[in-house]
């Protein structure tokens, strides 16, 4: 990683100053690393939205076994540190049990394992957010739906969940922002996302504060618009009661 410094921009004092300050960024694929972060976030977000909704349905459903499973899952997974879950997917599932999720090299295996771990963890929070949303739907709605002969699934999918989702856009945004930042834990099993590149740069460049600041800024760029846009969406779709 040795490279000549200050060769470009000779003669332009401003460019030269910039080159000295941001010299350490040279030769690193910052955008590529953040792109992996975005992919991790999006795939895990979709996955945990689906699995979290199913869990919420189980927790409010009429079958005691499913209610028990939903409650147990949420309370166990929510209380395990994410690092432990992610490391377990790699050291436990992959290295010890030999599960590779259909991939053949560590880059792909680890990416998929990380998505799996993030979904398992985040869906517990999604479930609780949606359950809170279900509680905001007046009981009369469900009672009226049952009175016209709808089944439990129909009551949930046609009447309750659509209203529930509209009231939990805010809480789900919080979960999504937390998820975006949680993807950094995937560096623990070697997924080449932003936090891993940061470790690499810190190792090479001896610029702790500047490098951390650059990555903090990168994450703000991802999460701030998410918060603003979804905040606006939340207001738009909120059920006026």
């Amino acid at each position: 990683m040795r490279r000549p410094r200050g060769a470009a921009h000779r003669g332009n004092p401003h460019a030269e100053a910039r080159e000295i300050v941001f010299d350490f960024l040279e030769g690193y694929d910052l955008l590529g690393a953040f792109w992996v972060t975005v992919q991790l976030t999006l795939l895990s977000a979709v996955g945990s939205l689906i699995w979290g909704t199913l869990l919420a349905a189980m927790r409010v459903g009429p079958v005691p076994l499913m209610r028990g499973f939903g409650t147990a899952y949420v309370n166990i997974v929510r209380n395990i540190p994410l690092t432990v879950i992610i490391l377990f997917t790699s050291l436990g599932l992959n290295q010890t049990l030999g599960i590779s999720l259909g991939a053949h090299n560590f880059d792909t295996i680890n990416f998929r394992l990380a998505v799996l771990g993030l979904i398992a963890y985040t869906s517990a929070f999604v479930c609780e957010a949606i359950r809170a949303g279900i509680n905001t739907v007046p009981v009369g709605q469900a009672e009226a739906a049952r009175a016209i002969g709808l089944s439990f699934t129909q009551v949930l999918t046609l009447i309750v969940l659509p209203q529930a989702f509209r009231s939990v856009v805010g809480p789900l945004t919080n979960v999504l922002i937390a998820l975006t930042k949680n993807t950094t834990v995937a560096a623990a099993i070697g997924v080449a996302e932003a936090a891993l590149l940061m470790k690499k740069m810190l190792e090479n460049e001896a610029q702790l504060l500047l490098i951390s600041a650059v990555f903090a800024f990168g994450f703000v760029c991802l999460t701030l618009p998410t918060g603003l846009i979804l905040g606006w969406v939340g207001k738009k779709v909120a059920v006026k009661r």
């Binding site: 990683m1 040795r2 490391l87 790699s90 050291l91 992959n94 290295q95 010890t96 030999g98 090299n105 560590f106 880059d107 680890n110 560096a187 623990a188 099993i189 070697g190 891993l196 590149l197 940061m198 470790k199 690499k200 740069m201 810190l202 190792e203 090479n204 460049e205 001896a206 702790l208 504060l209």
Partner: protein
């Protein structure tokens, strides 16, 4: 009534927390490096053979070197305060003056020399691989290209593998070398790669004796130096101490004691200021 109980309980917790913090900062106060009778040394706490914190105290080659240097600087063993210096924190710790010097498998590189000064080098290490003792498929560095390798996340060794040593190898990165060893034992990973001195330290641990061996490849040169604050007058004194350590035989003894069991063939003690690239 119930509310009052909760309040009382939280007050108690808060008081405990405050007390604990107070203790913490109290400890720090006596350790001020300028205080005269104490010297603060940064080492690794988690690398067997190099620098490790054990229930019995601190052990490892870096620890032995640091103890010798401290003695030459006029400090007894009980006047040394050990601090953990993780790889990413080392420059900052020196610049802030948290530690007087750092001996923590600290390779001398041009980027780091811009930030801190180095005494030494006191050990020439090479990137190498640790493989299962019964593995005969890896004989040359080229064999690594079709193998599963493991190293520490973002470390220089991991980058070397990707960039030049074995670009086609399948590389797994974990936060610690110990995590790599799980896979190495389960045959999910074929080789653990980093500096041979660190590998030798792991292979010398009691629970791994006889299970792993070093490849002996010498893929890169790592010049371990002792980091001091830029412009510090400690540099010359430490260099003098390191020269003494080599000439009176303590250096050889320390190498044997820490790396011996792993069949590690060490390089002769490097000359002060002789940095091999």
């Amino acid at each position: 009534m119930k509310l009052r109980k909760v309040t009382a309980a939280s007050a108690a917790v808060l008081a405990l927390a405050v007390a604990a913090t107070a203790c913490g900062s109290g400890d720090k106060d006596d350790s001020g490096s300028g205080g005269g009778k104490k010297i603060t040394v940064g080492i690794k706490f988690d690398q067997p053979g190099i620098g490790q914190k054990t229930p019995q105290g601190y052990s490892g080659f870096d620890v032995d070197v640091a103890k010798y240097v401290a003695k030459k600087l006029g400090y007894n063993q009980d006047q040394i305060e050990w601090k953990e210096s993780k790889s990413a924190d080392r420059e900052t710790m020196l610049q802030r003056g948290d530690v007087d010097f750092i001996a923590a498998s600290y390779s001398i590189t041009p980027e780091r020399q811009e930030k801190v000064d180095f005494a030494g080098p006191y050990l020439l290490a090479h990137q190498d691989v640790l493989i299962r003792a019964d593995d005969s498929a890896i004989k040359t560095p080229a064999d690594l290209n079709s193998k599963k390798l493991c190293s520490v996340t973002g470390s220089t060794s991991a980058q070397n593998v990707k960039d030049k040593l074995a670009p086609k190898a399948d590389l797994q990165q974990y936060p610690t070398y110990s995590a790599c060893l799980t896979g190495l034992q389960n045959k999910a990973i074929d080789a653990l790669t980093t500096d041979d001195s660190i590998l030798a330290g792991y292979a010398s641990q009691a629970q791994f004796k006889g299970k792993f061996k070093l490849g002996g490849f010498k893929m890169t040169n790592e010049n371990y130096g002792i980091g001091v604050k830029k412009g510090s007058d400690l540099k010359d004194k430490i260099n003098k101490a390191l020269e003494d350590m080599v000439s009176d035989g303590s250096w050889d003894k320390a190498v044997q004691a820490n790396f011996g069991p792993a069949n590690y063939k060490n390089e002769p003690a490097p000359k002060i200021g002789d940095i091999k690239s």
